[in-house]
Symmetry: C2
Subunit: 273 residues, 2 copies
């Protein structure tokens, strides 16, 4: 129940997913939604329901997840970020808070989400990269082949091949707006922007894409998998810790760009003296 | 006691200092040395003493600390890194292991140590930067002034002003070989390379340097502090979490450069797309 004079507030939420059981509330589990709702309840003085733009899986990180909630509290919208951070654990951080119109919705108003998957390709383990990367050094990866496999995914496709069971969505249509595979030694990054993502989609896709990169699978074979919806051929889901929800796009977004645009957890290996 | 046929092995050690009570063994505390010696003992089957190049404080990180130990174990020297990592917690990682001559010593053979202190200067907190930076956004910092204050420190000086009590060293002479202050928005980095460091030296120095950066202290005033050994004027020690032992230099170092040179925990904020 929302009081007549309540206000709707949007949040930019950052988390290291390592010790979270994902975004969504689950009884008895530590989730981002639960931690947020506990902190919001403590500040607002009433139970608060939080709605997130994307339901990230257990272990997945977020550089700028977006969420909203409603409250009759007189606390000014922009003050919530700082106040909430005093109630949140060190692996969860609010980058900003702002008032939004009553019908603005973190999930349903979103035009796109952008995810990044990061591989660490050096044989020697690096402590600072481990929490944010899949350590893949078993074979060299051809990023040009990987990009060639990804480019045909641009546009609107039925991607049931890259969908785990248990999703509440009725169909598997996805419009991929941008997809890039970039080598930044010792990292390889795959960024995908789409109107929406299927349950487990990026990790399943990366699991097959790796086989293109290491030469085990041809471009044709990769394309046949998703064109023919061969979910049975998609056997491996890449580790959650390599995945990060980078950004969410809205037609009217009440935050200045630096708040949600430049915050991803990417380690820089600086070779200068 | 060391058996006649024992071998001396050097290690490159990486750790996130957040949950360590520093390098050195202390009864009842979680320290890097203790964790290493426990793992080494379990693998070698006998008690092992580890000698480190630098005794980092509680909360200080290391990208490439160096240590050595002796063992009669027949395990080949280069295999120790991988085996040890199976016995170590996720915030402690061995980058490499190699045989060294019997008189090679991680601490006494070292020619220099290089530390980096990192400031995060954006007002909005960033979760991924927090563990590795001092969040300083109270005033703009003039890095040219900071560099101007640092440059006269090059060379051999008596730096008792930047020394905490409790150090076992007899004197406070330090030869600073390199010192740089670099702005990489939203970060500012100060790197100092010296033959040795006094107890608490970098953090005390940064505590005063900040006052030069924000305009509270003149270049002359900064220089007078250390020239006149005015320890009483050095009141603030910068937070440990911003400090990282980057590298240690040796005349004969048995490791290839990528192992110890390009591993620091620096977050990259990539503004592309």
């Amino acid at each position: 129940m929302v009081a007549l004079n309540s206000q709707r507030i949007a949040l930019i939420v950052q988390y290291q997913g390592t010790h979270f059981h994902g975004w969504q509330y689950q009884p008895g589990q530590r989730t981002v939604q639960s931690e947020l709702e506990t902190a919001l309840g403590a500040v607002a003085g009433h139970p608060v329901r939080v709605h997130g733009a994307g339901r990230t899986d257990a272990g997945v990180h977020a550089a700028a997840q977006v969420a909203h909630f409603e409250t009759p509290s007189p606390i000014p919208a922009t003050k919530w970020a700082r106040i909430l951070n005093q109630h949140l654990p060190p692996d969860l951080n609010i980058r900003g808070s702002a008032a939004v119109p009553p019908r603005w919705h973190a999930q349903f108003s979103a035009l796109w989400r952008r995810y990044r998957y990061t591989l660490y390709t050096d044989a020697i383990p690096n402590l600072f990269a481990q929490p944010f990367c899949w350590h893949y050094y078993h074979a060299p990866l051809d990023t040009e082949q990987m990009q060639a496999a990804l480019t045909p995914l641009l546009g609107r496709h039925h991607l049931a091949a890259f969908r785990r069971a248990g999703s509440p969505r009725k169909d598997s249509w996805v419009t991929i707006q941008d997809v890039h595979c970039t080598r930044r030694p010792p990292f390889i990054e795959v960024e995908i922007q789409a109107d929406g993502f299927l349950y487990g989609m990026v990790r399943l896709l990366i699991g097959v894409l790796i086989e293109v990169g290491n030469g085990v699978r041809s471009l044709e074979s990769f394309q046949k998998i998703w064109v023919n919806q061969r979910r049975d051929l998609v056997k491996y889901s890449a580790p959650a810790k390599g995945l990060c929800l980078l950004r969410v796009g809205y037609p009217d977004f009440p935050f200045p760009k630096p708040l949600w645009f430049d915050t991803q957890p990417l380690l820089m290996f600086n070779p200068v003296t």
